[in-house]
Symmetry: C2
Subunit: 230 residues, 2 copies
């Protein structure tokens, strides 16, 4: 799985509102790894993918110098954790790491397919002219997200961060999903102050700032999206 | 995520024709870890799952003594690899491990949802009286599998095992998916001798024998399913 080297920094092929791309961006930033972003529009053919990357999904990470190509956010994050040990986002014992991985998988199962993907399809499924998702789709997502916010609150009742005493990939993964929902105005934070406080802390991290600056033409986020105090 | 200890062996809550349960069974066996199987029928309520295991899917692994509960095959396999280093199925450099993880994810993306799941739903979706999937469903699966067998052959053109020079979790994962398709008679091996040879080697491993002995009442596999020479 090699491609010609393209320089000596990592290059992440991503789409700005793809929540699993956002997770990888957060992880790279938390580890202070320099990387370039390469925009991949979801409606365009994607020539960056090597044979056997059937998922045809972003993110894809190109490694510097060695011509490494990694696809799939789980594969990418595990690789980064194994090779760049500073600012570990998978700290602790095997049990604690299992808990981190469980929550990341939970986030992808619960947020991506049922919640985020229908909004992305509604917004970008028609081609190069993105449109705000329908109010119906946004309301559906808001209602379903409600239940998951309660689950997140349950975790925060028992722990400082979602998977334990320190910040981890679970926080990055779940905050990334929430950030995309929040961009579409699909989160009603009323009554979820505890989760909102945790999310505000996530938003205030340096790694989060580029995500909050992303804008898609034709789809403006609500004002609170990039407000660090709400 | 703890439950009362149930004894001093691992207990795997599984369904016999669930391909990701089969992967975990293979991994535990390859590592010579003693474990008990607890049957979970896909049509029954599943009381074994802890809070936040929303996927409601097998496998779930209960650890001995410590009351550990792990859900999600990826979480389980990573945990087993981290804690039981013998007979490693994720050998090698970070790049090689990324390749193993990529192929496991590829197997789940390409085989589970599009191929295996429709057959399982057809067979077990109606409740406690399983029925052979319709010929139409089986033919659809067979046709789609054809393409993936070519991809597997491509790997075997370049490598001794699917992910590299040694057997790995990628071989276990893909063989587990194929074994379920094969149980339903949904693989036409004609013209795929290279893949068939690799699969015959997998079938002949000690870890595979319990899988080949599984039978679901009302759905007999074809004779070649458990024949080690075909």
């Amino acid at each position: 799985m090699t491609m010609p080297p393209e320089g000596n920094v990592w290059r992440l092929f991503h789409f700005a509102l793809c929540p699993v791309c956002r997770r990888v961006r957060l992880l790279l930033s938390e580890k202070r790894i320099a990387f370039e972003l390469v925009h991949v529009a979801p409606w365009e053919p994607q020539p960056v993918y090597p044979r056997l990357n059937h998922s045809k999904l972003t993110p894809v990470l190109h490694g510097p110098l060695r011509g490494l190509v990694l696809a799939n956010s789980t594969v990418i994050c595990e690789f980064i954790e194994e090779t760049v040990p500073n600012a570990s986002m998978m700290m602790g014992s095997a049990e604690q790491r299992a808990e981190i991985r469980r929550l990341v998988a939970w986030a992808d199962d619960c947020f991506y397919g049922p919640l985020v993907l229908p909004l992305l399809i509604d917004a970008f499924g028609t081609g190069p002219q993105p449109a705000r998702p329908s109010q119906l789709k946004i309301r559906d997502a808001t209602n379903t997200a409600e239940m998951h916010l309660d689950e997140i609150a349950y975790l925060l009742d028992h722990r400082a961060w979602l998977a334990g005493p320190t910040i981890s990939l679970a926080d990055l993964a779940i905050a990334a999903h929430l950030s995309v929902l929040d961009y579409f105005g699909a989160i009603d934070w009323t009554g979820h102050e505890q989760v909102q406080t945790w999310y505000a802390v996530m938003k205030s991290r340096r790694s989060f700032q580029p995500l909050l600056a992303d804008r898609i033409e034709g789809i403006e986020p609500p004002p609170h999206y990039s407000n660090l105090n709400s």
